[in-house]
């Protein structure tokens, strides 16, 4: 069994060059024409972006629709989307546009945000680097996870889902590759509803569940 090499990443946000959106129709137009990197940033990379509160939803689109357009119905519909389950951002774009179109057809008006609360379309650059550390045996996974940064957890547990065709995280992929049986650990990893965790909370949860699954007190 190969060692698990621990990678880390650092994200740098940048403007996309798109004009801002002040209402739902403008949001729809920009989402229809923006690059997939913009979709990825606003749906998948939000745990990596600094925040001063715990928003209700984990994607920027749903948060903005709720807070600034005041449309709770559409926010709920878009807020429940699991962006990591989409291998292709184009599928996520199509679904989001469908939901917005459906809502526009239900409403007698176009919801607008007050000036100063526009939606800014962003994207990012991510640098990935080898930490030089590796995990030799799955029994060390839980304790090693506790020493990882939040961005390393993001890279291996969330972002990984889009790298594996089976839509699984790096830890599970490594455990499944083992000649030994680590079914309980893999099940534990699959059982996590990561939506409501910050990255540091997620790190602690992963370590806790893996410890319990492996029978380590």
């Amino acid at each position: 069994m190969k060692n698990f090499r621990i990678y880390d990443c650092a994200l740098l946000a940048r403007t996309s060059g798109l004009p801002t959106a002040l209402n739902l129709r403008e949001l729809r137009e920009r989402l229809a024409s923006c690059s997939s990197n913009v979709i990825y940033h606003h749906f998948c990379e939000t745990p990596m972006v600094a925040s001063f509160d715990n928003p209700d939803y984990r994607n920027d689109v749903a948060v903005w629709i709720k807070l600034h357009l005041g449309d709770r119905v559409l926010a709920e519909r878009i807020g429940i989307i699991d962006p990591y389950s989409f291998f292709d951002m184009e599928e996520l774009r199509v679904l989001t546009l469908d939901l917005i179109d459906e809502r526009l057809s239900e409403l007698p008006f176009v919801p607008s945000a007050p000036p100063g609360s526009e939606f800014y379309f962003m994207e990012s650059t991510t640098v990935v680097f080898d930490t030089g550390r590796a995990i030799e045996h799955p029994r060390d996974l839980a304790s090693s996870i506790l020493t990882m940064t939040g961005s390393s957890i993001y890279f291996h547990f969330l972002e990984a889902r889009r790298r594996h065709p089976e839509n699984i995280d790096d830890f599970s992929a490594w455990l499944l590759d083992s000649p030994e049986e680590f079914k309980m650990e893999v099940n534990a990893l699959h059982s996590i509803d990561f939506t409501f965790f910050t990255l540091s909370e997620l790190r602690n949860e992963l370590a806790k569940l893996l410890s319990h699954a492996g029978g380590i007190p």
């Binding site: 650092a10 994200l11 060059g17 001063f52 509160d53 650059t125 940064t149």
Partner: protein, 412 residues
């Protein structure tokens, strides 16, 4: 005291320090030059004060250069500063010429350093023309705008844009601060140094000394605003708010600020504030020397509430400092304050002296919420707004500038 990255391990944790060292490995020996216009006073100097030594500690050949200017030059750059923030501040042809001439004179001194640098970071508009003057540059040049230039006074922007458009990239503190430019625009919020004199933990005795020094009453609530005496910080609005509160409950106010060598308007504003506060024993207007950071720190820690009632603001590092000290912040609903102050989470956003007065009364009434907000605020800063996060983003930017290909993700 020389600062080292390892000194922060106890605050941010070993993984964060390890991550920075890993990220810096590919940047060993790279020549990075920061240029600004003042070594003390204001947020930029404070950031460079720790950023440069920490970059050196990580193996980067970083240095900090300060351009020298005349009074006339700083009057022009103050007008540019005001104009970029939307305040009508006409600049004469002679003013623009002075701006260029001072940069030409500084370039002659800095030429060898700037020509050889692999990355040059020019902070704010004062040294922006250096790029055009440096015809034999080898490295990547990045303009770091620390203020909100999203809605500039157009004549000023027209005058400045030719100097900044040619940079390889620019950095803004928030996406809302950026203005369209023909190069990539990155977003890097600033941060604070938790070990600096302004933010480190202080002994109780030191707090009491500061309390006694300024005649502050321990039995009555204290509201503190720390900032330059600048029209956009609205010190007169803060006084008005506190006077409104005092119609129903006792309150002391401290308005504390230092002067910066590149801020000639500060004296006029200070005089206006002094006149407004004259004869009021519960309004303390303190002009502190630039290096009196421990006093600022103590005042923030003595406060029940931190206020930053700006009408225009860059990121608002005094807000970050207040939150790091576990205090709720009442802030103007502008600029970077909007990002840091989230109603009921870290404080309250307000638009008027009346609004500020209302929220001061609210927080003084709700002690438990005030405490809860303070605890939460400190953790948000630890996670997101300490210098380690900003260093990480600068290192990422250096990688992008030196070897990025415009791809969303790349390995180093």
């Amino acid at each position: 005291m020389t600062i080292h990255l390892d000194m922060y391990e106890g605050i941010v944790g070993a993984p964060v320090i390890g991550q920075l060292r890993q990220l810096a490995k590919g940047l060993q020996g790279k020549r990075v030059v920061h240029v600004n216009s003042t070594r003390e006073g204001g947020g930029v100097a404070e950031i460079l004060d720790w950023m440069v030594p920490l970059m050196c500690d990580m193996g980067i050949d970083a240095r900090w250069e300060v351009i020298q200017g005349t009074n006339e030059f700083f009057n022009v750059t103050k007008s540019i500063h005001n104009g970029l923030q939307g305040y009508p501040a006409p600049i004469t042809t002679r003013g623009w010429q002075t701006y260029l001439d001072v940069n030409v004179a500084n370039f002659e001194t800095l030429r060898p350093i700037l020509e050889e640098a692999e990355v040059v970071l020019i902070h704010d508009p004062q040294p922006a023309p250096l790029l055009k003057l440096c015809q034999n540059r080898k490295g990547k040049w990045i303009w770091r705008g620390h203020i909100d230039i999203s809605h500039p006074y157009r004549p000023v922007w027209k005058g400045l844009k030719p100097y900044v458009a040619g940079y390889d990239a620019s950095i803004f503190s928030m996406n809302t601060f950026a203005h369209p430019l023909p190069h990539p625009q990155f977003i890097v919020p600033p941060s604070i140094d938790p070990l600096s004199d302004k933010n480190c933990d202080l002994e109780y005795s030191e707090l009491e000394q500061v309390r006694a020094r300024f005649g502050l009453d321990p039995d009555r609530p204290l509201v503190v605003q720390v900032s330059r005496f600048d029209r956009f910080k609205d010190p007169l609005g803060v006084i008005a708010a506190c006077r409104l509160v005092r119609t129903v409950t006792p309150l002391q106010l401290v308005l504390a600020g230092g002067g910066a060598t590149d801020d000639p308007e500060g004296k006029a504003m200070l005089d206006e504030v002094m006149e407004e506060a004259a004869g009021d024993p519960d309004i303390h207007v303190l002009l502190l020397p630039p290096n009196d950071d421990r006093t600022i720190n103590a005042l923030q820690r003595l406060a029940d509430i931190i206020i930053q009632k700006s009408t225009k603001e860059g990121f608002g590092l005094t807000v970050t400092e207040g939150l790091w000290k576990g205090k709720p912040v009442i802030g103007g609903d502008v600029g970077g304050i909007r990002r840091q102050v989230v109603n009921y989470h870290t404080g309250f956003l307000v638009n008027t002296p009346e609004g500020a007065a209302h929220r001061i009364r609210f927080l003084l009434h709700h002690h438990d919420l005030k405490k809860e907000i303070g605890i939460k605020a400190k953790e948000f800063i630890r996670e997101n707004f300490l210098l380690t996060r900003q260093l990480r983003e600068y290192l990422t930017l250096f990688h992008e500038a030196l070897q990025g290909s415009g791809e969303r993700r790349f390995y180093v």
